[in-house]
Symmetry: C2
Subunit: 551 residues, 2 copies
């Protein structure tokens, strides 16, 4: 069996100009980065208003759901049924690439390419975000060091530093040591780049002006009078925007079947809002008849955030929603150990299926058609597939078995045909909450209507912060909940569809630039660590460019 | 008067394919990054063996010497006299770009373009070096955290972290706080990316194999038995090389007059070896008849290091050397205050001229022809130019007045014609020292024959380190002295041509990957800080892409 990188590197890619030509993007609008990658200049020339399909999934498990793979294969399937289509995806973070095997560019015969570039720096967007973020950090401490005109209290600086690496050693640090010429000592910490507010801002901005507006509102900390200090106060909005001048432009690549894919931006869905950039989705909508976008992790995280935050900023709601599920993942949810997933076990499957059931019910609440894709693995038996199909049917939605990993676009044409029909609807979109709702009403909406919990409890710190939010009127922003991706609850080990649980809120973080309040629940970390045997140990490149160990 | 960015943005650039075609580089070998930048794939197809011209200068001053501007204008002048020519330059570090006004892409009508890209990330080389460097840091601490099989003593980790930002707050930090799940507490610090050994390695490598060899030799610290631990021991050479797979390829851009310029790599010359990559210079040599390369800061730093380290690794010695001087800088060396440089002052000029005199004498020691370029400013008077010309003539070398800032290549054609003649020589190259010489002999060679000092004194720490170096046989490597760029001495305030001074060595750092021993003198910092009013405060970009405040 070929590895993903072997399949990818043996594919005959088309020059990126040809991919752009498919969409009617002319050369003036295209900034090629090598032969197979390009950035699209703003504003877009495309004037289509394509249908929008959101791909989301059950809670992810160690078994792998193949949501990105399905999204890519689905794009190829639309192409095979002769529909103009473009995909919008997030770009991978380098941190996990060096840590755990498994890229973010699909797999098998449903990949975006060139995967070795997309997984490593790509067109430099994440480095630009990292640099902009840390330049702001340096400018803050420089301001304090040189007289501190804004009267910033160094103990209240909330703007941490970032690196795009899983580096637990940097979670909690003390900076500014070494005497009076080397800054002011204070506590600090590093997050991973995908958790940066600048990542969220870049992904929610419609153009450079919008980006600047949002950057200027970032709160970096508080002064000694306990008033917030912003990027605008520091007068560095322009410099940060300048550092992001290319990063804001969406990237165009192709699938192995030459379907156009806009791969741009990548906030994690557990600690951030989890969707590719608005500009990538907008490009797909403006230049094609069917735009397919994927949201990170399960429908409780990336899905909910796409529907309640991103699609609002985008100004376009999805016309249909696909929920991806696998027999293996549901068996795992039903209590089967990871090593026994190859064995048929209909009982465990049906025990885990309520996880899917709840996600289907959740997505249906938004008023738009929902379809399930059963992403088939070779170990799945006919009995299992039939049992799952029946279960889904009982939830009142259709399902299709897909085999894109093995067969590329040919493995999802039935699903594509169904989605063409499904997208042809005028069903009104029903938001989960209104931004003007009381903060606790909004929080309860997500906890009860999406997670299926019975209650939400704020820590004393969070309670104090809510009083502060209300005082400043910031409670009227949407909420972005940071929660483990593995469970509906805030405890990664509670699989399936748990009931009667309480969500524990640790902290509230106002992200005025992104335009939402981050709600930190449970133990979710904003800086991951590397495992005992990091993937980096098995990577290599030869003098002729041959790469090994990159998935 | 137009600003540099206005001149640059109003220039009609040629498509990078056309620039490559000038050099006979075909499209297969070219990886375009946008319309005006490209990377050149390895190995090179060019089979020329062009002449090599090194451009260096007097000690830099706040008055500005315009060495990069002269190098660019000289390339354009070669083109104007119908010689096939390519320039090799370092790429700018973002740290200083955000700090002090003044780019690294030339000025006036002698610039490389597009300057707004070259000065900001360019093709992503520095982000890749930063990421590779900090990934190594994370892997080291991860190794210690997960059982520490190599028995690394955390107190002896010499591999610091880096950011490409002037951030004094990160010079001295404590990392690994927060309890047992967040690493092992230890002292650490951040350098600026250009001081990274990986930057030096990238710039001294001939291909990926060479890069890997060098990476594997990096010493990251010592184990509890006081034996060195290397990147090879950690088994992460391949992963680091993979992260650098594109960064190792030289970048091609153009001057405003469409002369090809390879802009690649950028170690600072005060804290590192200060030359563009070997592969950039090699590309210029392989694809053109005249390759012009610039070394950082004065001839005592970048110049000496190019001649004693870089050109050896390159396998090609320069055929001629240009020393750049200005009337203004020499007046400043002669004691004139910066604000009074516009006033004619022949006496001060002649008082400062011995700085140039010593650099001329130094460069002549290497056996190759030396020519001086007097980079003329509008404030220079005829009296001053004549006095300086006479002084240079007394040193036994020719000089030419150049006006490339105002006139582009037309401002240096006489100098170009002279260099064509000068390059036609078989004079043997005379190295300053041999690597096999005793360490103190090598150190004394540079201190006495280049700096003009009378003595060199090692701190007790450095003495102990020298004993260690000798024990391990590392003392047979060339030396790379880190010293202030403003003076021949290790004190930035001693201008002109001081005598009878002592160089104080603080510390010796074995850089086995780069292949040299760094000798830290005086107070030179490996992490700069930002000024009270950083350049970032004046930068902006409009929705239509118009940039202001970037020089």
């Amino acid at each position: 069996m070929k590895t993903d990188i072997e399949i990818s590197q043996s594919a005959q890619l088309q020059n990126i100009n040809e991919i752009a030509a498919q969409l009617g993007i002319n050369e003036d609008q295209l900034e090629p980065y090598g032969k197979y990658k390009a950035k699209i200049n703003l504003p877009f020339s495309g004037e289509k208003n394509g249908k929008l399909i959101l791909v989301t999934s059950i809670n992810p498990t160690a078994a792998g759901e193949g949501k990105t793979t399905l999204t890519i294969g689905l794009g190829d399937a639309f192409k095979r049924i002769n529909k103009s289509c473009a995909i919008a995806l997030r770009e991978p973070s380098l941190g996990p690439v060096m840590g755990i095997k498994g890229g973010a560019t699909g797999g098998g015969y449903a990949q975006v390419a060139p995967m070795e570039d997309i997984n490593l720096f790509f067109t430099g967007d994440f480095p630009a975000i990292t640099e902009a973020h840390d330049t702001l950090s340096a400018l803050i401490d420089n301001h304090i060091h040189h007289g501190n005109e804004l009267n910033i209290d160094p103990r209240t600086v909330t703007w941490k530093r970032v690196v795009d690496i899983n580096d637990r050693e940097l979670r909690h640090v003390i900076v500014g040591l070494g005497g009076r010429t080397s800054g002011v000592p204070r506590e600090d910490g590093f997050d991973i780049t995908v958790a940066s507010e600048i990542m969220a801002i870049l992904c929610l901005s419609n153009n450079l002006d919008d980006l600047k507006q949002r950057l200027s509102k970032i709160i970096i900390g508080y002064n000694y009078d306990r008033e917030p200090v912003t990027v605008g106060d520091l007068k560095v909005t322009g410099a940060l925007a300048l550092l992001l001048k290319d990063a804001i432009k969406p990237n165009l690549v192709q699938t192995l079947e030459h379907t156009p894919a806009f791969v741009h931006g990548g906030p994690f869905a557990n600690i951030a809002h989890g969707c590719n950039s608005i500009l990538a989705t907008k490009a797909a909508i403006n230049y094609s008849d069917y735009a397919i976008t994927e949201a990170g992790f399960g429908a409780d995280l990336g899905g909910e955030k796409f529907l309640d935050i991103t699609s609002k900023a985008l100004g376009k709601r999805p016309d249909a929603i696909v929920v991806v599920a696998t027999v293996r993942a549901l068996k795992l949810n039903g209590g089967v150990a990871k090593d026994n997933l190859d064995e048929e076990n209909v009982e465990a499957l049906l025990k885990g299926a309520p996880n899917l059931g709840r996600h289907i019910k959740n997505m249906k609440q938004y008023g738009k058609p929902v379809v399930v894709a059963i992403n088939k693995f070779t170990s799945d038996t006919e009995e299992e597939i039939n049992a799952l199909t029946d279960f889904i049917s009982e939830q009142g939605v259709k399902s299709y078995t897909t085999t894109v990993w093995e067969n590329g676009g040919a493995g999802a044409t039935e699903l594509a045909n169904e989605l063409v029909k499904a997208c042809d609807n005028d069903d009104p979109f029903i938001p989960l909450y209104n931004d003007e709702d009381d903060f606790m009403v909004k929080l309860n909406s997500v906890v009860k209507k999406i997670y299926g919990g019975k209650d939400v409890v704020l820590s004393s710190k969070a309670k104090k912060q809510l009083t502060e939010l209300k005082k400043r009127g910031w409670d009227k922003l949407p909420i972005c909940i940071a929660k483990t991706q593995y469970s509906f609850t805030d405890d990664a080990k509670q699989l399936g569809a748990p009931k009667d649980f309480t969500i524990n809120v640790r902290e509230l973080q106002p992200k005025l630039g992104a335009g939402f309040i981050v709600v930190l629940t449970g133990k979710v970390l904003t800086m991951p660590g590397l495992p005992t045997h990091p993937a980096a140990l098995d990577m290599d490149i030869q003098n002729d460019g041959t790469i090994t160990g990159l998935f």
